[in-house]
C-alpha cells in the first residue's frame, strides 16, 4: 500500500511537469490552431538563457523574469520570421517547419552549451516539506506554479478584451478581421505567450530532470498525450490530463505492464483519445456547417 501511494505521489510530481508543458501546447493551439512540435525545444533554449543569467550572477527571480520576457520576444520573432511565410501553406509544410525548428534549436543549444548535463537551481527550499520522503519541495512548488499559470491563463482568455480577441482570431480569422482585430498580430502574440509559458515550464522542469539539450524530448510526448486527453483547447483539461498521465504511467508501469511499456501508455492514450473522443475529456466539440 505504501509503495502504491509512493508511486501515485511520484506520478503527480512528474504529472506536474507534463501539465506545465501541455499548457504551453494548449496555448499555441488556442492562438493558432497548430500543434507546435518545437515547443519543448523553445522552452529548453529559454531555460539555458536563464541558466546563463544565473551563472552570470543575477538573482533567481530577476533571471526568471528576464527569461520570460526573452522567451516572449523569441516566440514573436519566430512567428514573424519563420511561420508567417508559410501561413497559407498546407499543414504538412507547417509541420516540416516545426520539426526543422526543433532540430535547429536542439543543435544550436548543444553547440553553444555542450551536451553535458547541468544543474539548474530551484527557488524552493532544498528540504522536503514536513519532512516527507515522497515529494520534494521543488516538485510541490512546480505544481503550484503550474496551477497559478493556469489561473492566469483562464482569467486572460475569459475576461480581458485582448484574450477574447486572440480566441476570436484563432477561431474565425475572417470575421475577426471584419470587426477590426489585427489577426496577424494576434497570432504573433499567441506565439509569444506560448513561448513564455514554455519557458516557465522549462525552468520548473530543469531542476528535476537536469538541464541538457535533450531534456524535453520524452516530456513533450507525454505532454501531447496530456493535452489531448484533457482537450487540446482547454487549459484546465490539459493540466488535469498531465496529472492523469503521470499517475497512470507510474501505476501501470510499476504494477501492471512493466517499465518497458511506460511510453506506450502515452501513445495508446493519444491514439485512444483521437479515435474515441477527439475533443478530449473537457474539450469543446466543434460542429461545422458545410
Amino acid at each position: 500500500m505504501e509503495a502504491f501511494l509512493h508511486q501515485v505521489l511520484a506520478g503527480l510530481a512528474t504529472g506536474g511537469i507534463y501539465a506545465s508543458v501541455a499548457l504551453a501546447l494548449v496555448m499555441i493551439y488556442q492562438a493558432t490552431h497548430h500543434l507546435n512540435f518545437a515547443q519543448g525545444e523553445m522552452a529548453m533554449f529559454s531555460t539555458y538563457i536563464a541558466w546563463s543569467l544565473i551563472s552570470a550572477g543575477l538573482p533567481y527571480w530577476a533571471a526568471f523574469a528576464l527569461t520570460v520576457v526573452f522567451a516572449f520576444i523569441l516566440g514573436v520573432v519566430i512567428e514573424r520570421v519563420v511561420i508567417r511565410p508559410v501561413e497559407n501553406a498546407p499543414v504538412l509544410a507547417v509541420v516540416v517547419v516545426f520539426i526543422a525548428l526543433l532540430v535547429i534549436l536542439n543543435s544550436v543549444t548543444g553547440w553553444i552549451y555542450t551536451y553535458t548535463i547541468k544543474t539548474f537551481p530551484s527557488p524552493f527550499p532544498a528540504q522536503p516539506l514536513f519532512g516527507n520522503k515522497y515529494v520534494s519541495s521543488h516538485e510541490l512548488g512546480a505544481i503550484g506554479v503550474t496551477l497559478a499559470v493556469l489561473l492566469l491563463l483562464y482569467g486572460f482568455f475569459r475576461y480581458t478584451p485582448l484574450g477574447l480577441a486572440m480566441r476570436a482570431a484563432a477561431q474565425n480569422p475572417d470575421s475577426s478581421r471584419l470587426v477590426g482585430i489585427r489577426v496577424g498580430w494576434m497570432l504573433a502574440l499567441g506565439w509569444g505567450l506560448a513561448a513564455a509559458i514554455g519557458s516557465v515550464a522549462g525552468m520548473m522542469v530543469a531542476p528535476i530532470v537536469y538541464l541538457d539539450p535533450n531534456m524535453m524530448g520524452g516530456i513533450l510526448l507525454y505532454a501531447f498525450a496530456a493535452a489531448l486527453v484533457g482537450g487540446i483547447d482547454n487549459p484546465g483539461g490539459a493540466v488535469f490530463g498531465g496529472f492523469l498521465v503521470g499517475v497512470l504511467e507510474n501505476v501501470l508501469g510499476a504494477f501492471v505492464i512493466g517499465n518497458e511499456l511506460k511510453l506506450a501508455v502515452a501513445l495508446v492514450l493519444i491514439i485512444g483519445v483521437l479515435v474515441v473522443r477527439p475533443s478530449g475529456f473537457f474539450g469543446k466539440v466543434y460542429v461545422t456547417r458545410v
Partner: protein, 400 residues
C-alpha cells in the same frame, strides 16, 4: 611491348623467388618507408561531442611521436573524421578511410552503435578495427571477428567484479538492479548475473528504464519498496544523477554500486549532490586527473607535460584526455612491435601479443595482455569508494 613484358615478368618472378629481398619490409596499403596511415572517427559534433576530445588527444600524441622521430623511422599520418555519433555517418567515413585514403588500420572509432555499424565491413575487408572506444563485450570475439579489438575493460568484466565484491562482503545481500533497456544495460546485467552464478537469486528486483523516460523516480521507488539493501546502478550520466538523488531523498540507504560509465565527479556526482553520493562504489582502471594521489606520479607528470606542449587547449581535469593518451600509447607499442612488417595481418598479430604492457596513465598493477584467443587488453580494475570529494581506491586490483 609484348617483348618488354617477358623480361619484366621474369624479373618479378626472380624477385618473388628470393625471399631475402622482401623479408625485411612488407607493406599493406597505408604503410610505406616513411609513413603509416592511421584512420579514425570521433564525434566532434552532435550529442556525444564531449568525447570528441579523445580524438584530439590522440592526434596530439601522434604529433609528439612524430617529432620524436616517429615509429621505426616512419611518421604517423593520422586522419580523423567527424561522424557526429551517427552510425550511418560512421559507415560513410570509414569507407572513405579504407577505400579512398587507404589507411593501414582504423583506430579507436568511438561509440557502440557506430562500431556495430562497421563491424562486418571491417572484418570482410580485413582491415584492423583496433582498440575501439566502447566497453561492449562483443569486441572480444577473435573467432568470428578477428579484425576487431576493444581496449578498456568491458561491461561484463566490470559487472562480474561488483558481483564478486558483493558475494565476498555481503553474502546475504538483497540486490536491486536498475538498467537501461538496451544493449549496453543488458551487457552489464548479463555480466553481473554471470558473476553471481548460482547466487543470482540474490537479485530481488530488477527494473529497466528507457532513454525517453523524463525521470527514473518511479523505478527507484519500485526498487526501494522491494526491501533491497544493495543497489547496482547501470545508468548513463543523467539518469545516474537522478537515481543517486532520488535514492537519497527517499531515505533508501543501500550499498550502492554505480557503473564506471557514470563515475564522473564533474558530470554525475556534482549534479546529484556530493553529499548524496558519499559511499558510492565504482571501479577504475586509469588514473583520475583530479586525484591528488597522482600529483608526483611520473606517468601523470609526463601526461601533464604532453598536454601543455601538444594539446594546450585541452582540459586538464577531463578524464577523456587521459584515456586518449593511454590508448594512443598502446597503438604506438603495437606498431613498434610490428617493426618493418606493416601488413594488416601483422598489426592484428602484434595487437594480440601484448605482454604485461603498462601505460603511463593506467593504475599501478593494471597490465595489458592479449593473445590470439583473448582480444580484451584491459581486464583488471580496482574498486573505489566516493568519500564526498574524490574516489578513493581500496582493495586489490581485481580481474585477470
Amino acid at each position: 611491348m609484348k617483348r618488354m613484358l617477358v623480361p619484366a615478368a621474369a624479373l618479378l618472378c626472380a624477385a618473388l623467388a628470393s625471399p631475402a629481398a622482401f623479408a625485411q619490409k612488407k607493406y599493406d596499403p597505408g604503410a610505406t618507408d616513411t609513413e603509416i596511415k592511421v584512420g579514425n572517427t570521433n564525434p566532434y559534433s552532435g550529442p556525444a561531442s564531449a568525447y570528441g576530445t579523445i580524438g584530439k588527444t590522440i592526434g596530439a600524441y601522434f604529433k609528439m611521436i612524430n617529432e620524436q622521430g616517429g615509429i621505426n623511422g616512419r611518421k604517423i599520418n593520422y586522419i580523423s573524421y567527424d561522424d557526429g555519433y551517427s552510425p550511418p555517418k560512421t559507415v560513410e567515413m570509414v569507407r572513405k578511410l579504407v577505400e579512398q585514403d587507404q589507411v593501414l588500420l582504423v583506430f579507436q572509432p568511438l561509440g557502440t552503435p557506430s562500431n556495430t555499424a562497421i563491424h562486418k565491413y571491417m572484418n570482410s575487408k580485413k582491415v584492423p578495427q583496433l582498440f575501439v572506444a566502447t566497453g561492449a563485450t562483443k569486441w572480444n570475439d577473435p573467432k568470428n571477428h578477428p579484425w576487431t579489438m576493444g581496449w578498456q575493460p568491458n561491461y561484463q568484466t566490470e559487472a562480474r567484479i561488483y558481483a564478486q565484491h558483493i558475494l565476498k562482503t555481503k553474502p546475504n545481500a538483497k540486490i536491486a538492479v536498475l538498467y537501461q533497456n538496451d544493449d549496453y544495460g543488458k551487457d552489464y546485467l548479463k555480466g553481473f548475473k554471470d558473476g553471481l552464478g548460482a547466487k543470482a537469486s540474490l537479485i530481488v528486483k530488477e527494473v529497466s528504464y528507457e532513454v525517453t523516460d523524463p525521470t527514473v523516480d518511479s523505478q527507484i521507488v519500485q526498487l526501494q519498496s522491494s526491501g533491497a539493501d544493495v543497489f547496482f546502478n547501470i545508468t548513463t550520466p543523467k539518469f545516474a544523477a537522478q537515481a543517486i538523488r532520488k535514492a537519497y531523498d527517499t531515505g533508501w540507504k543501500p550499498l550502492h554500486y554505480v557503473n564506471n560509465v557514470s563515475a564522473s565527479v564533474g558530470s554525475v556526482l556534482t549534479p546529484a549532490g556530493l553529499e548524496k553520493s558519499v559511499g558510492l562504489i565504482t571501479t577504475q582502471y586509469g588514473k583520475d586527473p583530479t586525484d591528488p594521489t597522482w600529483k608526483d606520479d611520473p606517468g601523470m607528470k609526463k601526461w601533464a607535460e604532453f598536454m601543455k606542449k601538444y594539446y594546450p587547449e585541452g582540459s586538464l581535469i577531463d578524464a577523456s584526455n587521459v584515456y586518449g593518451y593511454g590508448v594512443a600509447q598502446t597503438l604506438v607499442q603495437v606498431l613498434k612491435q610490428a617493426g618493418d612488417n606493416l601488413t594488416r595481418e601483422n598489426v592484428m598479430k602484434q595487437a594480440a601479443s601484448l605482454k604485461n604492457f603498462e601505460t603511463d596513465t593506467g593504475l599501478p598493477g593494471i597490465k595489458l595482455n592479449t593473445t590470439a584467443d583473448d582480444y580484451a587488453p584491459i581486464e583488471s580494475v580496482q574498486l573505489s569508494r566516493f568519500d564526498g570529494k574524490t574516489w578513493v581506491r581500496f582493495g586489490e586490483v581485481m580481474g585477470k
